[in-house]
């Protein structure tokens, strides 16, 4: 069951709520490749995307997830809106509320922005990434991909590598995976992986080959240059040689290990091109599953509003 007004993060969701979303996504997936299976079940629903930060995958897949179900989907081009005149987030939300918007999908550079919006509007709010806090729909599509390939989560060893301290993807995945029984290790240089992350119920490691040993899933994360002030490591060359994953390091993982990445990838830095394009990689599958998961979320939230 998923009975909430909003989807703000995985931290507060139960395992059962997460499974409801994943099971609904399974029903949705066939509709992506086969248009004849699509219906107009969301035709009376109006959805707006409100992206204060750039995005390719998340925004496009939300727009398509709405279109494939017959919803009215609009994008508020934040860069050309009154936000540029200094309109506050709360005022922008109240304005969209008055126009009859049912679901607002927000990405914002500040932690808690989606929560603030949800507190102030009647519409359902979906968090498409808030600061360095959570990116729940990305984690849900990652979970769905793992479920599809591995059949479950209990006892799986999942290693998330890279710029953990700035990563909302790592955090949402950590919350979701631990709730479903997987063992999560966050790994990277000590300046990018704080030991406080252990309070999320995960392991923290700095030795990459050791961390990857016997992993079922290896997830790379992009170094977020846009969120760094002082570089937390000396050079990209040093980073990729000590903390990146290539064919050699991947040998430490299980043979059927999944290689994942939320994209966009800095090729040759967190993952080598051989690994990205290799047999274990499901990076492209993740993209397709992103549409299915977002279709499921729009459907569930719309049903809750009726």
């Amino acid at each position: 069951m998923y009975e909430r007004k909003d989807l703000l993060g995985l931290r507060d969701l139960s395992g059962e709520e997460i499974m409801t979303i994943l099971n609904t996504a399974r029903e949705m997936k066939a509709k992506i490749d086969d248009p004849s299976l699509r219906d107009n079940s969301l035709e009376k629903s109006s959805i707006v995307t409100l992206f204060y930060e750039n995005s390719t995958r998340t925004k496009m897949s939300f727009l398509l997830a709405g279109d494939y179900q017959g919803a009215i989907v609009k994008d508020l081009g934040v860069g050309t809106s009154s936000v540029q005149k200094g309109e506050s987030l709360v005022d922008t939300g109240l304005t969209l509320d008055q126009m009859g918007i049912n679901i607002m999908i927000i990405r914002h550079r500040m932690t808690g922005a989606a929560h603030l919006l949800a507190r102030n509007v009647k519409a359902s709010v979906i968090n498409a990434g808030d600061g360095s806090n959570e990116h729940p729909t990305q984690a849900l599509l990652d979970l769905y991909t793992i479920l599809e390939r591995k059949g479950g989560f209990k006892g799986l060893k999942v290693v998330i590598l890279g710029d953990i301290s700035h990563s909302r993807v790592a955090r949402s995945n950590a919350f979701g995976l631990t709730k479903l029984g997987a063992k999560v290790t966050l790994a990277g240089p000590s300046t990018l992986v704080s030991s406080s992350m252990r309070s999320l119920g995960v392991e923290v490691a700095t030795d990459i080959p050791k961390a990857i040993k016997d992993a079922d899933v290896v997830m790379g994360l992009r170094i977020q240059f846009e969120r760094q002030k002082n570089m937390p490591f000396p050079s990209l060359r040093e980073y990729s040689s000590l903390f990146g994953v290539n064919d050699e390091t991947l040998k430490y993982a299980k043979k059927d290990c999944l290689v994942m990445h939320p994209g966009p990838v800095n090729r040759g830095i967190e993952l080598s091109s051989e690994v990205i394009d290799g047999a274990n990689s499901v990076i492209n599958v993740q993209v397709k599953n992103g549409v299915a998961v977002r279709m499921a979320i729009l459907k569930l939230l719309t049903e809750n509003r009726r």
Binding site: S88, V90, T111, G112, H115, N120, N133, S196
Partner: protein, 432 residues
């Protein structure tokens, strides 16, 4: 002139080691006697079952005038102070224009004398425009009557300049109220760095950002022999450092705010910016150390750091929201509830930390009920629970995380310079 008879209260006056049930008479603005009057009083206050204390002195509050009157004014801040049992407020210089010269200092004094319901004393900035580049007109401000020096919401990052300021201020016997934080280490955090920040996904402000600067300032106070007072210290490490400096003989005092021992970083919920404050709410372990520091008198003063903020500065993204909590009206109740009622310190020790000790730091003879002293008196009920309701606040701003909290230690009367300015929820007859 007027005669006020306070009947049968528990008089708590740490300056004279008094804690006993007695009458108290105020005549012509002065404490007259600790007996019933022989002549008919103009006003009789039945204080049986209540405590009668010297009026509180706040070393650190932001009254926002001139410049930021949408948040607070000297008048509304003084009303909030009176409602909280305060009779003297030291107003921080982070105004616009900054209180960095005798003209602005004189203006604050003039407005205070004309409008404030209690005593308001200006604090002068350490550097011009609090830019941390050159000394403000410290000597001329001293002549104009500033009670202390401080950068308000900033730290003088340049150690050489801070040293010069400490040396120079000593000539005028002005204490330097330091807000100690290394801004590079603090970075762009918006709450305490630690497990709670990791859970919420907010960038943290580490304890070492405070401790590094607390150390620096105490080393400089030691080498200059100046008087340093550390404002709103918040970490266990700072308490230890202050203890060590005192043992070395450094002339240092320190205060803590009621919110820093009443709430921890784990209390921050749903990105509610009313919990956003600088220094940030720290861990439960820090609270234990702070209470220990209060108990052992390593921390001599409780100050509010009353920081009014407009609703629009708080009802926004947590990371964008301004820092600050209004504190004047909850300080005594939070301190009584969390310190005295929980047997951390005695009532007499609390009263000392809120009146006599801060008064001494600003070289004032206030904070006592000695016969002949200025009649600044606060009367409170420490028996009954009450629910704090922010809508009944006298401050212009309502940025408090304590709305709806059940507390003990309600202020019933505040007498400033012999006049009853606050009585049972109303300021000079004006109710909220």
């Amino acid at each position: 002139m007027s005669l006020i008879h306070i009947k049968g209260g528990r008089i708590v006056d740490p300056a004279n080691n008094i804690d006993k049930v007695s009458d108290l008479c105020i005549k012509d603005g002065k404490i007259y006697s600790l007996e019933a009057p022989t002549e008919k009083a103009d006003k009789v206050i039945d204080a049986s079952g209540l405590v009668v204390m010297p009026g509180f002195v706040d070393l650190n509050c932001h009254l926002r005038e001139p410049g930021f009157e949408s948040r607070e004014t000297i008048l509304t801040g003084s009303m909030a102070g009176a409602a909280g049992g305060y009779t003297t407020l030291c107003a921080m210089p982070n105004t616009d224009p900054v209180t960095d010269n005798e003209i602005v200092a004189t203006y604050v004094k003039y407005k205070a004398e004309k409008e404030a319901v209690i005593r308001v004393l200006p604090v002068g900035a350490i550097t011009k425009g609090k830019c941390g580049e050159e000394l403000a007109d410290i000597g001329r401000m001293a002549k104009a009557g500033v009670c202390a020096l401080s950068e308000g919401d900033r730290t003088v990052q340049n150690a050489a300049l801070m040293k010069t300021a400490l040396k120079y201020s000593k000539m005028f016997d002005l204490p330097v109220l330091a807000y100690s934080v290394d801004t590079d280490l603090a970075g762009k955090g918006s709450m305490n760095a630690g497990d709670a920040a990791a859970l919420l996904g907010l960038k943290g402000i580490s304890a070492d950002s405070e401790e590094v600067m607390v150390s620096r300032d105490m080393i400089l106070a030691g080498s200059t022999k100046a008087r340093l007072h550390l404002c709103h210290i918040s970490t266990s490490g700072s308490v230890t450092l202050i203890k060590q400096a005192k043992e070395r003989g450094v002339d240092v005092t320190a205060d803590v705010t009621p919110h820093h021992f009443s709430l921890s970083d784990e209390d921050i919920v749903d990105y509610d910016a009313n919990y956003k404050v600088n220094p940030p709410l720290r861990t439960k372990e820090d609270i234990v150390a702070i209470k220990e520091g209060l108990k052992n008198n390593i921390i001599e003063v409780i100050a509010t750091d009353h920081a009014p903020r407009h609703i629009d500065e708080k009802n926004c993204e947590f990371e964008k929201a301004e820092n600050g909590i209004v504190g004047l009206e909850t300080a005594f109740a939070l301190s009584f509830t969390n310190l005295v009622d929980k047997n951390v310190i005695t009532l007499s020790e609390l009263v000392k930390k809120m009146s006599l000790n801060p008064a001494k730091i600003i070289n004032s003879d206030l904070g006592t009920l000695s016969v002949g002293a200025c009649a600044d008196v606060t009367i409170a009920d420490i028996e009954k629970d009450f629910v704090f309701d922010k809508t009944r606040s006298f401050s212009k701003s309502r940025n408090t995380p304590f709305d709806g909290k059940t507390l003990k230690g309600k202020i019933l009367y505040t007498i400033s310079r012999g006049n009853v300015v606050f009585e049972k929820g109303s300021i000079k007859g004006e109710c909220k």
